[in-house]
């Protein structure tokens, strides 16, 4: 190859589009690794200068060992029980007519976006009410934390169970139903085939539970993630906090790596939306009792959520007064959510292309994209502060947008995975046709690429907004003095405030979250023409 032809080919590959995608991809992966990079710098610096005690945080005292075991046990119990109830509930749901079934699934999805601390409030009210009937019922502690966390994550667990079932090739289920009863087909065909996806769902719920402290801390259960925050508050040393977090990180990374293959398989499953059984499954009586039990639990969760908020709601005046009182926090939260969407979507769109790659590069991208899921929320906040305090970055430390940055780090990977899934529904020939027929690159992007990506972008935006509104663990650490999000305000009120103010704000956040979810679903319905999705939705 001559030098000129090499440069010619190199220049030909350097299209503005390719440069933009490459830069956005690099930025995405750097950004989600930012907290870990910051923490690593601090750790090396502490080791070199001897400025922090880096040996004692590594010693696993009996208290820490017990705390770790209890935290991991809590997360495993919540994920396992949630999935079991979810599987039973979804298997019962398959008896319902298609439109009703999809309606319930969409409702579960909308409920999954409601922040856990709102469930904590409503369950707290319910437990206080139950005291009138059963006086000795515990109101705090590990058991109550388990129950509230389980119920808070139940809509998500049930929805993930449906995804796992829906990922199956229905012909393989039909082939089983021809020769064996439905219960045998469930045990021997459906569950083993759905096992990787169910495993991934278990890992996902486990990680959500293990890395967050908001619910247990409200019920007096001191989980390991909260202890990391406490360690940082006491020592003000990021290095000590990260070393303190190592045992939990080992567990969460192990679970994340184990779940990675399942999540990737689930995302690559050919047709998870249209899966359905044409004739109703017939299960034995004992199994139908279990299904009924799971349905009652899901119904109780929905009932407790809305009745709790309704009963705590004193009057419209109190409601509007609590909103007025928190209008600054509300504005800051909404602004943060918009910023997260604006930053995350272009980066996630570029990163989704990387997730499509086969071989080592694709595998590495999948591993990195799941890293934020395995890092406890306080550590993400601490890592970002440390990064911002590094000499090079401290000059332009973006204090006001730090809550947005931690949400981008935590949640933009979800957007990348959703966009990856959506891209698989698009025929690549449509892009080739756009290259041939569009007047310009801009024309191709605005009139072909973006409309085709629109369903994935809409869903991602909705999920990013819901999750950002609910984020607490990292935001609490990075929020600049004098600025708080609505979630921070509610969390503080849950400890110290009056119940009517808390209820008013929680009701507002619930309405906001359900509004975002409903808006997303409606918008998705409008923009999904020709994307391969619309025809499969009710």
């Amino acid at each position: 190859m001559t030098t000129s032809s090499f440069f010619h080919r190199f220049a030909a590959r350097l299209s503005p589009e390719r440069i933009a995608v490459t830069l956005a991809t690099i930025l995405f992966f750097l950004l989600i690794l930012c907290p870990l990079i910051g923490l690593s710098f601090d750790l090396v610096q502490a080791y070199m200068t001897g400025s922090a005690d880096i040996t004692s945080p590594l010693v696993l005292t009996p208290r820490r060992t017990g705390l770790l075991a209890a935290s991991v046990g809590l997360a495993a119990a919540v994920a396992g029980s949630g999935l079991l109830i979810g599987i039973l509930f979804i298997s019962a749901l398959f008896r319902l007519p298609g439109k009703l079934r999809y309606g319930i699934l969409l409702m579960l999805l909308a409920l999954a976006g409601i922040p856990p601390y709102i469930h904590a409030l409503t369950w707290s009210e319910a437990i206080h009410g139950a005291h009138l009937i059963v006086p000795g019922l515990p109101a705090t502690g590990w058991l109550v934390s388990f129950w509230v966390e389980l119920m808070a994550l139940l809509p998500l667990s049930a929805f993930l169970s449906w995804l796992a079932f829906a990922s199956l090739d229905i012909r393989l289920v039909d082939a089983g139903r021809l020769v064996r009863s439905d219960i045998v087909v469930l045990w021997r065909i459906i569950l083993p085939m759905a096992a990787p996806a169910l495993g991934a769902a278990f890992g996902f719920v486990f990680l959500l539970c293990c890395t967050d402290y908001s619910v247990p801390s409200l019920f007096g259960a001191d989980v390991y993630a909260l202890d990391i925050f406490a360690q940082f508050s006491a020592s003000n040393s990021a290095a000590e906090a990260v070393l303190y977090a190592v045992p939990l990180l080992l567990v969460t990374f192990l679970v994340m790596v184990a779940s990675r293959a399942g999540i990737r398989t689930l995302a690559q499953t050919p047709g998870w939306i249209p899966a359905r059984s044409a004739t109703l499954p017939e299960f034995p009586g004992w199994f139908r009792v279990l299904q009924a039990g799971s349905t009652v639990l899901v119904a109780v969760q929905i009932l407790v959520l809305f009745s709790g908020l309704f009963l705590a709601f004193e009057s419209p005046n109190v409601f509007f007064a609590s909103i007025l009182m928190a209008q600054e926090e509300l504005a800051y939260s909404l602004l943060t959510a918009v910023l997260v969407i604006l930053i995350s979507l272009p980066l996630a769109l570029a990163a989704a292309q990387e997730l499509k790659r086969p071989g080592f590069r694709g595998a590495a991208a999948w591993l990195i994209v799941l890293v934020p899921l395995a890092v406890p929320a306080p550590l993400i906040g601490i890592g970002m502060i440390t990064m911002g305090n590094l000499p090079f970055f401290s000059a332009f430390y973006p204090a006001l947008i730090m809550p947005a940055m931690v949400s981008v780090i935590k949640f933009s990977p979800f957007a990348a995975i959703i966009l990856f899934v959506q891209m698989r529904f698009i025929d690549p020939l449509l892009f080739d046709a756009a290259t041939v027929f569009a007047k310009s690159r801009f024309d191709a992007w605005t009139r072909i690429h973006l409309p085709l990506f629109a369903p994935g972008l809409v869903v991602s935006a909705g999920i990013l907004a819901s999750l950002t509104l609910a984020e607490l663990g990292a935001t609490l650490i990075v929020s600049p003095p004098g600025h708080a999000t609505i979630t921070m305000r509610i969390y503080n009120y849950l400890h110290y405030g009056s119940s009517s103010d808390v209820a008013g704000l929680c009701l507002m956040v619930t309405v906001l979250t359900l509004g975002v979810s409903s808006g997303t679903i409606l918008l998705l319905w409008r923009v999904s023409r020709g994307s391969g999705i619309r025809g499969d939705l009710p």
Binding site: D174, A175, L178, A278
Partner: protein, 217 residues
């Protein structure tokens, strides 16, 4: 004898099977020939009990199997089904795929029957392999063995030779015909290939737009 009486099935607003009446006598060999999307597969699925009819009835040997108000589960219809591309369970070995269809038999008998079917299909050496470790032609042989395993009174074939090369198709078609002859089951073979339909050497029924347009009886 299987009797379909005024069977209809509609998906959304599209009537896929439209008031089909058909009698399939014992030991009959029928090829259901028609273009893609004509409703042939849906008709097979209705007979198998994988779809519920909107109108009409299906009876098998005098017993009502399907109607808008009655559905006998697929596993109680004594039906063997060979799906397009095999539909083998990926988490089971070849032998386990066949053994699963022999649920009522004692384990020893299951082993014996599985072995004899594997030998009959010429795939005994593959018994411990998983579906992703065998070829497309081998997968169809496993699917045929699985369909034959419970000695069903009716064998349904849904374009079982799709995407195979000519030599393989010929070999498998011979194997299918020999197997059906040996078992004495009635056979309903769905295809869009005129040559395959003629090779069945039985009755050819032409199916278009959800209805029978030529009854070969």
């Amino acid at each position: 004898m299987i009797e379909l009486n005024e069977i209809s099935k509609t998906f959304d607003t599209y009537r896929v099977v439209d008031r089909v009446s058909l009698t399939i006598p014992d030991h009959a060999r029928i090829a259901l020939l028609g273009p893609s999307g004509s409703g042939k597969t849906t008709l097979l699925r209705l007979i198998a009990g994988l779809e519920k009819p909107d109108t009409g009835t299906i009876t098998m040997d005098g017993r009502l199997m399907s109607s808008p108000g009655t559905m006998v589960p697929p596993s109680e219809r004594s039906i063997g089904f060979v799906f397009q591309n095999g539909a083998l369970w990926p988490h089971m070995t070849v032998a386990e795929n066949i053994r699963f269809a022999l649920g009522d038999l004692a384990f020893g008998e299951q082993q014996l029957r599985t072995r004899s079917l594997l030998e009959r299909m010429g795939i005994f050496t593959l018994s411990a392999r998983y579906p992703d470790q065998i070829s497309g032609g081998e997968a169809r042989r496993v699917a045929l063995a699985r369909a034959l395993a419970p000695r069903p009174s009716t064998l349904l074939f849904d374009e079982p030779l799709t995407s195979l090369d000519r030599t393989l198709r010929e070999d498998l078609l011979l194997l299918i015909l020999e197997s059906v002859r040996e078992t004495g089951s009635r056979m309903l073979y769905v295809t869009h290939d005129e040559y395959e339909a003629e090779r069945i050497d039985g009755t050819i029924i032409r199916f278009e737009n959800g209805t029978i347009c030529h009854d070969g009886f």
